[in-house]
Symmetry: D3
Subunit: 252 residues, 6 copies
C-alpha cells in the first residue's frame, strides 16, 4: 500500500511559467520530486521534408542533467550519441503535441520544444508532455499577441500520466521512481481535455496484463488527466477559454 497518498492520487503538481527568459514559452513543471524545464522556441523555417507546403512543424528534444538521477549518468553529448530511451521519449513528446496543434495554420515555422529534466523521480516523460503543452500554448500565445498568428492554433488540451500495476496486483496512478522500478506493468497515457486518447503505451516488464487490468488502469488515468487539465488552465490564463471553445467546435 502507498504510504503517502491514495492509489488514485497524483503527487503534488506545480507549473511555473516564464521560468527562463529567452524562450517564447518557458515552464518549470514538477510532479513531486520530478522537475522538468520545458522551453518552446520558434524557428522561422521548417525541416526539408516540409518546405514549400505552407505548413509548420513541432519537434521535441528530451534530456536529463547527468545528476538528475540517484546515480550520475554519462552525458549523451560525451557518448556522442542519443540513447534509444531518449529517442523514444522525444519522438513521443513531439507526436503528442502535433495531435493538438493545427500545423496548417502556423505557417512555415518550427516549434522546438526542449524538455530538460533537472531532477528525476519517475514520470519524467509524462511531466514533460504536460509541461511542454503549457510552454507551447504560451509560445503560440505570444505569436498571436504579436500579430504573427491570427488565432491560437491549439485544438485541445493535452496531458499525460503514468499508471501501473504493482507486484501485489494493485493498479496505481502516477508512479514515482521507486514504484516504477518494481511495477509489473507500466503504462503511459496521453489524453486530450475532451478525454480522447492520443497515445497509449503499455508495457509488461517481464510480465503481462489482462484486459481487466487494462480497463482499471485507463480509468485511473482518466482521473489524473482531469486534474492535470485544471492545473494547465490555471497556468495559461486567458488562453484556457480559447482552447475550450476550439475543442468544443472540434467535438461537433
Amino acid at each position: 500500500m502507498r504510504s503517502d497518498r491514495q492509489v488514485n492520487e497524483l503527487r503534488k503538481v506545480t507549473i511555473e511559467t516564464d521560468y527562463v527568459k529567452h524562450p517564447e514559452g518557458s515552464v518549470l513543471i514538477s510532479f513531486g520530486d520530478t522537475k522538468v524545464i520545458c522551453n518552446a522556441s520558434v524557428e522561422e523555417r521548417v525541416p526539408p521534408f516540409l518546405r514549400g507546403q505552407g505548413k509548420g512543424w513541432i519537434t521535441a528534444e528530451y534530456a536529463m542533467l547527468p545528476r538528475a538521477t540517484q546515480q550520475r549518468n554519462i552525458r549523451e553529448s560525451s557518448k556522442g550519441k542519443v540513447s534509444g530511451r531518449t529517442m523514444e521519449i522525444q519522438r513521443l513528446i513531439g507526436r503528442a503535441l502535433r495531435a493538438v496543434v493545427d500545423l496548417d495554420s502556423i505557417g512555415e515555422r518550427t516549434l522546438w520544444v526542449d524538455c530538460d529534466v533537472i531532477q528525476a523521480d519517475g514520470g519524467t516523460r509524462t511531466a514533460s508532455i504536460t509541461g511542454a503543452f503549457v510552454a507551447v500554448v504560451l509560445a503560440f500565445g505570444k505569436l498571436v499577441d504579436n500579430g504573427v498568428l491570427k488565432k491560437l492554433p491549439v485544438t485541445d488540451f493535452l496531458t499525460a500520466i503514468s499508471v501501473g500495476v504493482l507486484p501485489d496486483g494493485k493498479e496505481i496512478l502516477d508512479l514515482c521512481y521507486e514504484e516504477d522500478s518494481k511495477a509489473d506493468v507500466d503504462m503511459n497515457v496521453v489524453m486530450t481535455g475532451q478525454g480522447e486518447f492520443v497515445e497509449l503505451q503499455g508495457t509488461g516488464e517481464e510480465a503481462t496484463f489482462s484486459m481487466q487490468q487494462l480497463q482499471k488502469m485507463l480509468s485511473l488515468a482518466q482521473e489524473g488527466v482531469t486534474e492535470l487539465t485544471h492545473l494547465q488552465k490555471d497556468a495559461i490564463g486567458k488562453w484556457a477559454e480559447v482552447i475550450d471553445k476550439s475543442s468544443a467546435v472540434k467535438e461537433k
Copy 2:
C-alpha cells in the same frame, strides 16, 4: 472498404523455418508482401550489467535492406547511426520476447535476435515479433536437444499484430503500407497465447481516438492473434505442446 479482404482478416501469413544455415534458429516470415528474416543466435555470455547473476538475456536488432521499401533508404551503417524508429522497434522486439522467456533458467547466455526486413509493405514490426518468437523457440529447442538446457525456457506463445482506424472511422486488422499511410490511428498489440497483453502501443497520427474505438481495435487484435498462434504452432512442431503445457501451468 478493403478491396481484397475483410476488415478482420489477416493477409496471407507464411513461416519458413531453417531459412539460413548458420543461426541456431532461422525463419523467413511473410505478412503478405512484408518479408522478414528472423535469426536467433546464441552467445555464451551476457551484457556487463548481468554478469555473475547466473541469468541470461535476449536482445533484438532490426533493420531494413535499403530497397525493402518503394524508395531506397540510406543505409544506417553509412549514416553512422541508428534512427529513432529503428531503436524503438528493436527495443520493443527484445522486451516482448523477454516477457515469455524464463531468463533465470538459460544460464549466462545472450540470445541475439536479428530481424532483417528484405521487403516491406506495412507491419514489419509485428511480423518481426511473430517470426522472432519462432526463431527463438527453435534456437532454445536446439539447446534442449543438445542437452545444454534441461527444458524449453519459453512460458507462452507470443504474437503481434497491427490494428488501426481509417479516416472513414472503420477499424481494421493487419494494415498494409497503403492503409498504414492514411490511417488516423495505428496500434500495435503484442499478446501471449493465453490472451494477455505484453505491449500495447496506440498512436493517433495528428488525430485522436475514443475508448470505444480502442475496444473495437483490441477485439480485432484478439482475432488476429489467435490465428497467428496457430501458424506458430505448425512452424515449431514438437515444441508447441511443451509451450502449451508451460503456459497452462503459469495460468494457475
Copy 3:
C-alpha cells in the same frame, strides 16, 4: 584434394531474378551456400562531383546480415562505422560495374547497387559482382522498356570469380570459406565477357606466389568466367543478345 568437385570446377551457381518487388533490378544469386541479394535502384540525380555534366554514376554498397556467418558479427550500423573490409568490397563492386556501363549515355542518374549477403560461405564479393551485373542489366532494361533510355548502356558482360593456392601448392577455382581460410594465396579476378581484365587482386596471406602460380590461377579464372557468363545470359533473357552485339562493336 577437394572432396566434392574438381579444382577447376565452380560450385553450383543459381541466379533468381525479380527476387524483391520494389527495386528496378533484383537478383538472388547463390555460389554454393553463399547467397547474396543484389538490388539495383535508380535515383534521378548524381553525386555533387558530377552535377551538370550530363553523365551518370553507379555506386555500390555491400553488407552482410549479422548471422550470415558462422559466428555472429556486430552490425555495422550499431558500431557506427563501416569496416575497412566492407569499404574495399563496395568500392570494388562499383568500380567493376562502371567499367562495362556507358555512363555518358544514362543521363544524370545514379544507379545504387546493394549487395546484401544473407548467407556466407566464401566468395561473397565475386558472387556480389556477378549478381549485381544481372540486377544492373535488368534495371537499365526497365528504363529502356519504359522509353527513358534509348538503348541498353551496357558494353559487355561482367563476372567475377576467386582463385587461390592451397598450402599443398595446388591452384583451385571458386574457394568456399573453409578453403579460403587455409589458402596461402587468394585472388579475385573480374573479367568481361570478351576475356579482358577489369580487376585483378591477388594477395599472399603471410605468403607469396610466383609468376608460374599466377599464370595457373589466371587460367582457372578464365574457365570460371566463361561458365558464369553463360549463366548470366540465361538470367537476362532478351538483353543477352544486345550486350553481345555491343561488346562485339567495342572489340573492333
Copy 4:
C-alpha cells in the same frame, strides 16, 4: 559608459545551495541573468591513468540548455560531438578546481562536477567555476561529515571573474553578454582566496592589448574576486573557517 553599474562593479550574484536533491553537492549560482546549476557527484573510482596510485581526481563537464541563449543552439548530443568551446571551458573548470584540492588525500575517488547553464547572459564560465567551487566544498563536506574523509581536502577558496576592454578603451569588470560581444579584449581570471593566480586567459578579439591595460584589468579582477570569496563563505557555512585555516597554513 555602463548604464546600470560602475565599471568595477559585479552584477548581482546569488548562490543557492542544495538546489537539486540527488548530488552530494548542488548549487544554483546567478551572475545577473546568467544562471548555472553546478552539481558535484562522488564516484568511487578514478580514471584508468590514475588507478592504483591511491589518489583522486576531479573532472568537470559543461553544457548549456539549447535555449539558454537568445537564439536556440543545436544540442551537442544531437550533433554527436562536443564543440571546441565546450571542451575548452570544461577543461578550464576541472584544472582550476584541481589547483585548490589536495587530490592525494581523497582516496581513489573521482569528483564529477557538472555545470549546466540554464540561462546565459555572459560570464557563464566564471559563474561555473565560482559555483562549482561551492558544490565541491559541499560534496567533500558531506564525505567528512559521513566519516569517509578525515578532513576537508580543500586548500583555498577559488573564484573566477571576467574583465575586458570596451572599444572606447575603458576597462570593465564582469561583462554581460552585450558587453562581451563588443569588447576588444576579453580576459578570464581565476584566483584563490589568497590572491594567487590559478588561470589567466586574455584574448584580443581581432585586437590587441598593452601591458598597461593588462595591469588595469588584473586590478579590477582582484576587486571582483574579493567580493565573490565573501559570497562563497556565506554559502558554505561552517566550512569557510576550515578553508581559511588551511589556506593560512599553505601560505606559510
Copy 5:
C-alpha cells in the same frame, strides 16, 4: 638550473620556407627538437556565417604525427574525434593570426593554416603560431605578387613563446618537454612585433602563481618575442619592410 642555456635563452630556432611544394605558403619551423610543418592554403570561399559580407577568414588546424612524441599516440582520425587539447590549440592559432590580418581587405577567401607537428619536444603551439605567421605572409605575398590582392593584408608581426616557473621557483623562457612536464606554471604569450599582447594563457598545474611571478614571466616572454620577430623578418624577405610600415601606421 638549465644545463644547456640561460633561463632567458631560446632554443635554436630555424625557419625553412617553401618546404612543401603545393601550398601557397609552406614553412618548416624548429624550436630545438620541436619541428612543425606550417602550410597556408587559399580557398576561394568563406564559411557559411560570413557569406555575402565581402570579408575573409583564417582558420587553423593542428595535429601531431602519431610518433611525434616519445610514446605513440592514437591517430585522431582513428579515434573518430579531435581531442580537447587539439581543439584548444587550433582555436588559439586561428584567433591569434586573425588579430594581425585585415580580414576586410582579402575578399571572400579563407586561409587554411595547417600546423602538423612531425617531432615534438615542448612548445608545439608556440612554434606553430610563429611558423604559421610566416606561412601566412608568404601565402598573402603570393596573392599580392599575382595581382589578386592590392596590398599585403598583414598589420603586424606575430610570434608566440612559452614561459614558466620551475618547482624551485625559477622563471624560465621557452620550455622543452622535460621542463614543461615538471613546471608549476606554464604560460603561453602571443605578441605582436609592436609588443602588444594578442593572447595570454597562464595555467597553474595543481599550483598557483603570484603577481610578481607573472611580471617576471612577461618580461622573459618579451625578450623571446623580440628575437623571434627578427628571425621572421629574415624568413619573409621583402615583406618585412611592408609589415614594418603597416604596423607603424597602426601605432599612430
Copy 6:
C-alpha cells in the same frame, strides 16, 4: 611519350633514415616529388585477437597532410572518419609487411607503422610500402642490437611499384600524379627481393586490359623492384646481408 624519362625508368628515389628522433625506425622516402615519412613504433602488447598466443603483429596506418596535394583535402580527424581509400591503403601496407616478417619470432609485440605523406605526386602507396620496409628493418634491428630479439625476424626484402597503361596503349613504370590521372589501367605490384609476388592489384579505370598488357606491366614492375631493392640495401646497412641469407634459406 614521357618527356623526362624512359617508360621503364623510376623517378629519382631517395631514402633518408633516422628522420625523426623518437620512433624505433624512421625513414623519409621520396619517389620524385612524392615524400612520405615512415615511422615504425614498437608496442609491448598485441591486439586482443592474438593475446596469449606468443606471437606478434604488424599494423599500418596511412594518412596525408591536408595540403600534400594540389587541392587541400579535409582532415580525416575533422570528418570523424577514415575514408575507404585510406583504409584500403593501410590494410595493404600492413598485409604486405606481414608477408616478410616472421611474426612467431617477435614475441607478443605490435609494430605500428605510420606512413604520413607530406607531399604527394602519385605512387604514395608504393613509396609507403618501400619506405615502411626500411623503417621496419631498422626498428627490429634496434631490438636485436638491444638484445630483445635474438635475430632479425625479416625473411626477405619487400618493395612496391606502380605500373600502368596510358590511353595510347603504352605501358609505363612508376606513374606520377599526372600520368596516374589519365591512365586507363593502374596496377600496384608488391614483390619480395626473390621476385615473388606479395600483392597484385590491377584496376581498369572505366577501361579493361588484356593478358598481353598484364604481362608487359609485370615485366616493367620486375625491373623497378630490382632497383628499389638495391636502394633498400644501401639504406639498411649491416642488415642487408642478414636478410639476404634469410631469404636464401627460405628459397630452399
